[in-house]
Assembly symmetry: C2
Homo-oligomer: 288 residues x 2
Amino acid sequence: VNSESAEPAEALSRLSLNQATIPGWTVREAAEGSARAGLGWIGLWRDRVAETGLRASAAAVRDAGLGVSSLCRGGWFGAPDRAGLEARMEDNRRAVEEAAALGASCLVLVCGPAPDRDLERGRRVVSEGIAELVPYAAERGVRLAVEPLHPMYCGDRSVVVTLGQALAMAAQAGPGVGVAIDTYHVWWDPEVWAGVAAAAGRIIGFHVNDWLVPTPDMLNGRGLMGDGVIELRRLRRAVDAAGYQGPIEVEIFNRELWSLLPEQALALIAERYLAHVAEPAATSHLPR
Amino acid sequence: VNSESAEPAEALSRLSLNQATIPGWTVREAAEGSARAGLGWIGLWRDRVAETGLRASAAAVRDAGLGVSSLCRGGWFGAPDRAGLEARMEDNRRAVEEAAALGASCLVLVCGPAPDRDLERGRRVVSEGIAELVPYAAERGVRLAVEPLHPMYCGDRSVVVTLGQALAMAAQAGPGVGVAIDTYHVWWDPEVWAGVAAAAGRIIGFHVNDWLVPTPDMLNGRGLMGDGVIELRRLRRAVDAAGYQGPIEVEIFNRELWSLLPEQALALIAERYLAHVAEPAATSHLPR
């Protein structure tokens, strides 16, 4: 055993590939590719799971020896009327069942958008939707993750835009609900360090990627770790210090990354994870 | 006198055209066009003032009978080194002198960006820059406006991204420093209503425009009032309730609006201001 640095397999054991990062792979391909590269986890999307089939997806992940760090996504509580909301809730119950079948660490919720201009009403609708979903999820052993999204998504996706808000909402909802912290969504917040510390015991997901300057696209312009301005390692250390020991998911929507060959993209992701997120391997014992 | 609704001239007396909204007009054309349309104010940009000349600009605005709601802009404290920062501070002193010569209600500061990934250091640099500028501005009777920008500009423009932060910074800097509240930058914030109330006595600028869904461009995709999702009238009422009685500036960077003829653009702005921002004219006494 090389004592100077962690073995690759160990070094990447917390790393999770969110499959939206490499859409060229099916669930099975992503699971096998991730396992080959030494990753310990995978993050799945419902549409891709449906394409492969729920049972086949669960088997593929199990065969590869991976854990499922998250299932994306439930939520979308902002319907124009009660019938619309009921349809969303029905879909959310399906999402819970899928998360249970996959053994996912959590089901990520998109907490919005508001049905009209009234954000406060929109937030109440989200809280009520979560409250309604909690017992159904608890019975199936599924944890729900409130993920604050960047304020630039407040108009069309999420009325929960700060970690503080997400925490308050999760705390109100009870023990089956936690927060997912994505560096892209929270890095700008002057309260982020206090927020991460306050989230101790409630963090059930941690996602890394980077904020590019300039940002090429509001939806599909996220950066690979190290290409942007986020203090990624500092945030990862803060999340660890808050007691989180779970998977670290790489979720990047980026057209350039999507244009690479899947293996090439994953190798780059692993390299950047080691360079910018993971604790640097001890160098004091390296041969000179 | 028509008692049912305000005269146009009175109805638009608080309205200010930020000249970046209609870049086809020179300072003199913008001043004359605004006065013709019944506006009481104008917001100026330093590059356009330089193009017309400082004295000629001041004369044009005076001749038109307008007040200058703001001069855009100073700040930009995020320099890579001390020499760079000193050049910025020198430029900021010129901006203060120009604001004084124009009789501007305030000089708007862009409070950033951070010189590197460390946002906390970036915020300290901004606070120190403002503190250094305060006496120079006070001697010339110029108020400095800390304007929080939307968090999507945190990487390249402003480390001040919430009204709460801006207020704390202004309060620390003393009586010559206030905040400028732009609906586009603050509407998403769950703390915005508390923040506006807390800003009582420190609001020295109020800007309106709208958040489009989807947003066509991160820089030049702001919406005309009424085309987006911001509760504009509610925000204007909150700002009024906090004691602000000054100009209401329309600052819209939008390629579609820029493609209109200037008079056409200004007529549309006035119409939307009355429809979505100003207090509706009393209708109870309207003839049936």
